[in-house]
C-alpha cells in the first residue's frame, strides 16, 4: 500500500485547483444539508400529529379544516357512532372551531390558527398537555402553544386580541412539537360568538382502538344526512401539510440535482490530477506498487478532498441556517438542524468523492508503465 502521507501531500500539491474543488463541493454539501433540513423542519410538526385511534371529521369536500363548516346538529350523530370511546360516560368527541386568524399582541399582528374547544378537550387530545396553568375555558381564558408563545414572547397573564375580543393567557400547551404548539386554544362558544360562526369546523374523535377506525370512516362516508368526511388523524395532518410537503420535496429535489452537478466537477479535478501525474504513477508502478495500491491512493485522495469539503459545507449550512429568515411551518421559526441530516450530507460528500474519483483512479491504475517512462 502507498503510505497515507504520499496521498496527503498530493492533496496539497496543487493548492489552487484543490481549493477550488473543495469550495465547489462544500457549497454543494451546504445546499444539500440546508435544503434537507429546511424540508424536514417544514413537515415535522405535521408528520408527528395525530394518534392512530384519533379521527378528524370535516365537511365533505373541504380540503382543510379552514374551509370546513359543519352543521352543529351533527354532533349527536357523531357522538352515537359505534366504536367511539368514552370516559366517565361521556363520548370522546371534541367539536372544534378552528379558524386561521390574525391575533394581536401588544399591537403587533400575527397569523395563527385559533382553535375553539369544549370541556371534553383534555380527554380527547391525548397528545396535548398543559404544562403550566390551565386548560382554556369560559371567561376568555386562552391557552397558547409553547412554540407560538416563544415566538411572540407571551407569558401567562398576558392578554391577546382574537377576533376583536380580549383573551387572557391562562395556560401553555405542550404537544411535543406537533401542530398544536403553534395554535391558540380558547372556549368554543366564546370564539363562535366573537367570529360570528354558527357552525363547527370539525370534530376530533377518539375511537375505542385503532382497529375500529376504518369502520367509523366508512359509516360516516355512507351517511346521507350529514355530508361529512372522516380520516384517521395521522393521515389527515400529513395531508394538511400539502404546501409544506410540496415545498419540502422541491427542496430535496434541488439538493439532489446540485449533488449530481458536483460529481462532474469532482471528476474533472481528479482526471486532471491523474493526467498531471502519469509519469509519477509509472515510476511507482515500476517500483513495484500494485495497481490496487494506485487505485486506492487516488480514491483516498479524492475522498479526503470531498470529506474536507463536506465538513466545510455542513459548517456553511449551519451559518446560513442561523440567518433571521423565518421559515414557514417551522415550530421554532428557524431551520432545525439535525445530526442525521449532517451525517447524510457528509455521506453525500463521500459519494461525490468516490464517484468523482472512481473513473480517474481506474485510469491511473491502468497507466502503461513503459510508454510513460520512455
Amino acid at each position: 500500500m502507498l503510505p497515507l502521507t504520499y496521498v496527503l501531500r498530493n492533496v496539497r500539491r496543487r493548492r489552487l485547483r484543490t481549493g477550488l474543488t473543495i469550495a465547489g463541493i462544500a457549497l454543494v454539501v451546504a445546499v444539500y444539508f440546508l435544503m434537507g433540513s429546511v424540508a424536514e423542519t417544514m413537515v415535522e410538526s405535521f408528520r408527528s400529529t395525530g394518534a392512530p385511534e384519533e379521527l378528524v371529521i370535516v365537511q365533505a369536500g373541504a380540503m382543510l379544516v379552514d374551509y370546513s363548516n359543519i352543521d352543529r346538529s351533527s354532533l349527536t350523530y357523531v357522538q352515537t357512532l359505534d366504536g367511539v370511546a368514552s370516559a366517565d360516560g361521556q363520548p370522546l368527541v371534541a367539536p372544534e372551531l378552528a379558524l386561521p386568524s390574525v391575533i394581536v399582541v401588544d399591537g403587533r399582528e400575527r397569523k395563527a390558527v385559533v382553535r375553539g374547544v369544549t370541556a371534553v378537550a383534555p380527554a380527547v387530545y391525548r397528545q396535548v398537555e398543559v404544562t403550566t396553568g390551565d386548560w382554556p375555558g369560559p371567561g376568555h381564558r386562552a391557552a397558547i402553544g409553547q412554540s407560538l408563545a416563544a415566538k411572540l414572547g407571551v407569558e401567562i397573564g398576558d392578554s391577546l386580541e382574537i377576533e376583536g375580543d380580549r383573551f387572557q393567557v391562562a395556560g401553555l400547551l405542550d404537544s411535543g412539537g406537533r401542530v398544536y404548539d403553534q395554535e391558540v386554544w380558547v372556549d368554543l362558544e366564546e370564539l363562535a360568538a366573537a367570529a360570528n360562526r354558527k357552525t363547527y369546523s370539525s370534530y376530533t374523535l377518539r375511537a375505542d382502538d385503532a382497529s375500529v377506525v376504518p369502520d367509523i370512516i366508512e359509516t360516516i362516508s355512507e351517511n346521507r344526512r350529514f355530508p361529512l368526511s372522516a380520516q384517521d388523524a395521522p393521515r389527515f395532518y400529513r395531508r394538511t401539510a400539502g404546501m409544506a410537503s410540496f415545498m419540502a420535496s422541491l427542496g430535496e429535489m434541488i439538493a439532489m440535482i446540485v449533488a449530481i452537478g458536483a460529481v462532474f466537477g469532482g471528476m474533472n479535478t481528479m482526471y486532471a490530477a491523474v493526467a498531471a501525474r502519469r509519469r509519477e504513477i509509472a515510476v511507482l508502478r515500476a517500483l513495484g506498487y500494485r495497481k490496487v495500491s494506485i487505485l486506492g491512493a487516488f480514491l483516498v485522495e479524492s475522498l479526503v478532498i470531498a470529506l474536507a469539503a463536506g465538513v466545510l459545507g455542513v459548517l456553511l449550512g449551519t451559518i446560513i441556517a442561523l440567518s433571521p429568515i423565518e421559515l414557514p411551518y417551522s415550530p421554532s421559526g428557524m431551520v432545525s438542524l439535525s445530526s442525521s441530516q449532517a451525517i447524510s450530507a457528509l455521506l453525500l460528500a463521500a459519494i461525490i468523492g468516490l464517484v468523482g474519483g472512481g473513473l480517474p483512479a481506474i485510469q491511473a491504475a491502468r497507466t502503461a508503465v513503459i510508454q510513460e517512462l520512455r
Binding site: 440546508l34 386561521p100 452537478g261 474533472n268 414557514p328
Partner: protein, 376 residues
C-alpha cells in the same frame, strides 16, 4: 481576425473531450438548477403577479388571511354598494377543489353574473354570457383551465368534492387576469352545494372614479366595524401579497440556493478552464513565438471559456424547459419566464468570462521562451 480563429477554437474544445464534456455538464446542471429555482419562485409568487395593478378592493372577514376561510353575510354586498365613493360592489363565494388523478387544484367562484361582470369588467362573447346568465347550472371556464383539463364548451363536469355538477357554456378568453385559470359558476348554485346560503367569501368593490382605493378601504372598514362581522379591505394585489407572505421565508431560502448555485458554477468552470490553459502552456508559447499578440491570446482563451459555458447553459435551459413543461412541472405551478432564461444566459456569459479571466491573463503574460523551454 477573431472570426478566422473559430475553427481553431472549435478544435481546441474537442481536444480534451472528456474535460469539455464534464465542464459543459457541470455548467448545464447548475444552469438547470438556477432556471428551475427561478421557475419555482415565479410559480410560488404567482398570485401577486396575476392580479397586477388592479384598483379593485376586496372586502373580507377581519382576521381571515385566507379567502376560503372568510365568511360574510350576503347583505354586505348591498351595504358596501351604497357607500359613497363606491362605483360597484359584488359578493363572491370562493371554493377550492382537487380534480382528476393528477390532483389539479381549481378555484371555483360563485358569482352574481351581471354585477360581477360590471365590477370585474369581464370581456366575454355575448352568446356565452347569455347562456351563463340564463342557466343556474351553467359555468364559464378560464381558457387556461380548459386547456389544462381538456374541457370544451358544452361539456358537463362534476366536481364531486364540492358537490357541484355544471355545464360549461363558454370560455373566459385571455385578458390578463387570474380568471383565465378559474371556474365561474352561479353563486346560488355554489352556496347550496357548500351549505353556505346567504354567505359570501368576499365583496369585490370598484372605487368611484377619482376615489383613492386606500382611502375607500379604510372608510369601508370603519363603517363595517360596528356590524356583527368586522371586515378588512385591501386591494387585490395587497391581498395576494399577504397570501404569499406566508411562505416568503421558504422563497428566501430558494433565492439563497440560487446564488450558491451560481457560485458553484463559476468555481467549477474556472477550475476546468484553468486546467485546460495550463495544459496548453507550450502551445500558447508557440503561438506567441509565431507573433500572436497577448490581446489576441487572452481573447481566444476567454472565447473558449465563454463558448463552453454557453453550450452548457443552453443544455441546462433546454433541460429545465423540458422539466417545467412536463405535466408534473405544470402541476407544481412552475413557470419559466423570459427573465429567467435571460438571467441564466447572462450568468453563463459571466461564468465564462470570470472563469477564463485569470487563465487568460496568465496566458497573455506567458513568455514564449519560458513556455517553449518546458519539457513535459
Amino acid at each position: 481576425m477573431i472570426l478566422r480563429m473559430f475553427p481553431f477554437l472549435w478544435k481546441n474544445l474537442w481536444r480534451n473531450k472528456r474535460r469539455s464534456i464534464l465542464t459543459i455538464f457541470g455548467v448545464a446542471v447548475a444552469i438547470f438548477v438556477i432556471t428551475a429555482l427561478g421557475a419555482a419562485i415565479a410559480g410560488m409568487t404567482f398570485p401577486v403577479r396575476e392580479v397586477g395593478a388592479t384598483s379593485l378592493l376586496k372586502v373580507r372577514e377581519k382576521s381571515r388571511a385566507n379567502v376560503l376561510a372568510s365568511r360574510l353575510p350576503q347583505a354586505y354586498e348591498n351595504r358596501v354598494a351604497e357607500l359613497p365613493g363606491v362605483a360597484g360592489a359584488t359578493g363572491v363565494l370562493s371554493g377550492l377543489a382537487v380534480l382528476g388523478d393528477e390532483g389539479v387544484h381549481i378555484f371555483v367562484r360563485g358569482v352574481d353574473p351581471d354585477r360581477f361582470r360590471e365590477v370585474r369588467n369581464l370581456q366575454i362573447d355575448s352568446e356565452a354570457w347569455a347562456a351563463f346568465v340564463d342557466d343556474r347550472k351553467a359555468a364559464l371556464a378560464g381558457h387556461r383551465l380548459m386547456r389544462r383539463m381538456g374541457w370544451s364548451v358544452g361539456d358537463e363536469i362534476e366536481i364531486s368534492m364540492l358537490g357541484l355538477r355544471v355545464q360549461i357554456v363558454g370560455a373566459i378568453p385571455e385578458q390578463g387576469i387570474d380568471l383565465e385559470s378559474h371556474l365561474l359558476v352561479q353563486r346560488e348554485n355554489l352556496q347550496i352545494a357548500r351549505e353556505a346560503e346567504y354567505q359570501l367569501s368576499y365583496v369585490l368593490v370598484e372605487p368611484a372614479a377619482g376615489k383613492p382605493p386606500a382611502e375607500l378601504a379604510a372608510e369601508i372598514d370603519d363603517y363595517m366595524a360596528a356590524s356583527p362581522v368586522a371586515t378588512t379591505t385591501a386591494t387585490s394585489a395587497a391581498f395576494a401579497e399577504a397570501v404569499v407572505e406566508d411562505f416568503m421565508g421558504f422563497v428566501d431560502y430558494l433565492k439563497i440556493m440560487k446564488w450558491i448555485a451560481v457560485l458553484i458554477t463559476v468555481l467549477g468552470a474556472a477550475n476546468a478552464i484553468a486546467m485546460s490553459v495550463r495544459d496548453r502552456t507550450q502551445e500558447i508559447g508557440a503561438l506567441k513565438a509565431l507573433g500572436f499578440t497577448p490581446n489576441l491570446i487572452s481573447s481566444l482563451v476567454l472565447l473558449e471559456s465563454t463558448g463552453l459555458a454557453l453550450i452548457g447553459a443552453i443544455l441546462g435551459i433546454a433541460l429545465a424547459g423540458w422539466a417545467i413543461g412536463s405535466s408534473a412541472g405544470e402541476l407544481a405551478g412552475l413557470e419559466l419566464t423570459g427573465w429567467d432564461v435571460a438571467l441564466s444566459l447572462a450568468i453563463a456569459v459571466f461564468v465564462g468570462l470570470a472563469g477564463g479571466a485569470a487563465p487568460a491573463a496568465a496566458a497573455a503574460r506567458l513568455h514564449p521562451v519560458d513556455a517553449l523551454r518546458i519539457i513535459d
